[in-house]
Amino acid sequence: MLSIQNLTASVLDESGTAESNQILRGIDLEIGPGEVHAIMGPNGSGKSTLSNVLTGRAGYGVSGKVLFDGADLLSMDPEERAAAGLFLAFQYPVEIPGVGNMYFLRTAVNAVRTARGEPELSATAFLATAKEAMAELEMDPAFLSRSVNAGFSGGEKKRNEVLQMTLLQPRLAILDETDSGLDIDALRIVAHGIEKLRNPERSMLIITHYPRLLEYVKPDRVHVLRAGRIVREGGPELAYELEEMGYGPGEATAEPADATPTDTADPSGSHAEPDDGPQAPQARSLL
């Protein structure tokens, strides 16, 4: 379903020239239909850059090849990738003041349906589906009438991401630290929502620091990303080993913390939670 071949990425400077410092330095990854892959790695290893590059965020100089269901993903606009079935659960969901959540969700669902040649959902049909999905995620229906993510707590934002994923029914979902900032109950609910979406046709790429989400959503493969390269691969047990042992000492990180190349300033102040979850226990490295 997704085939990443020798993918590299650098941040573009203001003139549009790629900086010499590569953040991704040749990634190869194959994800088959129905497979769940986890990517773990220390801060600055390139995890968020990978999700940004796959979803088409501007500001990177990219080389290599990415095929999504055989199509050349890197040549597509972000909205075309979305229509093709690629979904990103954002690490920091963005606030859009004044735009109702219900309106936003329905517009998104219908934009994707239209692009796929499917008829638009009526307001009534959409509302019924949305309410059902919200009940699963233990979300108050009042969320629908609030502005997109505005004033949501960190946990509410993450649930809202999973709600969108549920409604958009993607072919491949990238979950970028969806478990960070969640308390135990919220984690269980969110993880249950994700696990429910698992099916033989839908693949997932879970970016995380901890195995705890992976306890609920058991990955087929775990990859360790470090300094822009995949340095280890293994089965689900690798996640526990990492927790136990840490990522180990390595070369200097290639990626600045939370490397978003363009406008990271969020005027609505949605960066309420810390930039990253608690640090992985790097000090006890035995690798």
Binding site: V94, V99, A111, L168, D263, P267
Partner: protein, 478 residues
Amino acid sequence: MTDTVEGLVEREYAFGFHSDIETDRAPKGLTEETIRFISAKKNEPEWMLAWRLSAYGYFVTQSEPTWARVHHPEIDYQDMYYWAAPKPKGEAPKSLDEVDPEIIDTFNKLGISLEEQKRLSGVAVDAIIDSVSVATTFKATLAEAGVIFCSFSEAVQDHPELVRKYLGSVVGPRDNFFAALNSAVFSDGSFCFVPAGVKCPMELSTYFRINAENTGQFERTLIVAEEGASVSYLEGCTAPMRDENQLHAAVVEIVALDDSDVKYSTVQNWYPGDAEGRGGIYNFVTKRGRAGNRAKISWTQVETGSAITWKYPSVILAGDDAVGEFYSVAVTTNHQQADTGTKMIHIGRNTSSTIVSKGISAGRAQNTYRGEVKVMRSAEGARNYTQCDSLLMGPDCGAHTFPYVEVKNDSSQIEHEASTSKISEDQLFYCRQRGLSEEDATNMIVNGFCREVFDELPMEYAVEAQALMRITLEGAVG
């Protein structure tokens, strides 16, 4: 930011067409003779002519104000026509069927067919092409309720006692340079009178349209709500594409007597000039209302047009417990300049006012909010809440905020909030990742920014306003 939201330049004025209607004009230039010509043309009584002439006498002693943050070449007031009317082909129309089909067609192009509106929405329309009303509908229904809604010229003929009583009572002929000009040469406009205790049975709507070359437009609107009356008045405008600047200096006066409620909504889309800033309407408007005891005046405006906008819908909160509101969205693109805001003048006790202003700038446009909150010594317990938000699209535009506050009574409460932001790359990318095109995403974010103001518009206007925003911001991204 600059990669994806740059420019906001390539937009065509969607309503820029010109309909071919024979025009009957006053001689070029502004003299006492011009004023006598206009007055005679309209068969006005002597007192009306005297009023005009006295305003003219004041006007010639004044010079154009320079405090607004707008720049334009000097206006030659002698180099324009001050009156033009569509010539009736034959007799004056007695019903819509008799109206010049070209005029009807013009409205159809604008999507505001009188017939359709009449049948579907129940909105009474006093349609103005150039300076003369060509059609007025629903008069009977309104008359039954005792509401007078007619062209200003008709009001001068049919209700002279009301016009004499209220004309100039809120915006006097010596109020300011442009108000004086308007008072001297106003061509037509609307008159609305809602008698005591009457709730106007329908929303009133007027569409203005400039339609002849070099014709200054000087509309005069007077709305009177007697004790306990209420009315919602809608004004919307579009104008055809022009190369020469056109001056528009309107005056709107609202008299809201005790316990009355007047809501005045505007969607303004005058021709803004081309991408290089050539042409476009100069819109210098004076709008003000006076609210009596427990009366409420609410201004809502969505401004997307004009090369230059100079406009401060204001409320004099004269009575105790009077309420004033101002909700505004002002969009400027290309080389447009807007200097707009409001004045809330608190005189009565426990008066309260709310100001919500949303300015959007793109291209090389300059958008200025200028507001004044004045609390007089008598205004015990007055309250004001002001919120000014600016949204910038692209690197070459500007947003400026000048809030003036003058408080002479220490029991009052004044709150002011202001913000300036850009459409963030994060917001755009978030929407696009969910499948929205960049254009739709921008549109959605901008509409969200304007939401508090759109919510104040009557339903059908809210829809129109959103459509207008979409047209205005077409080509804003990419």
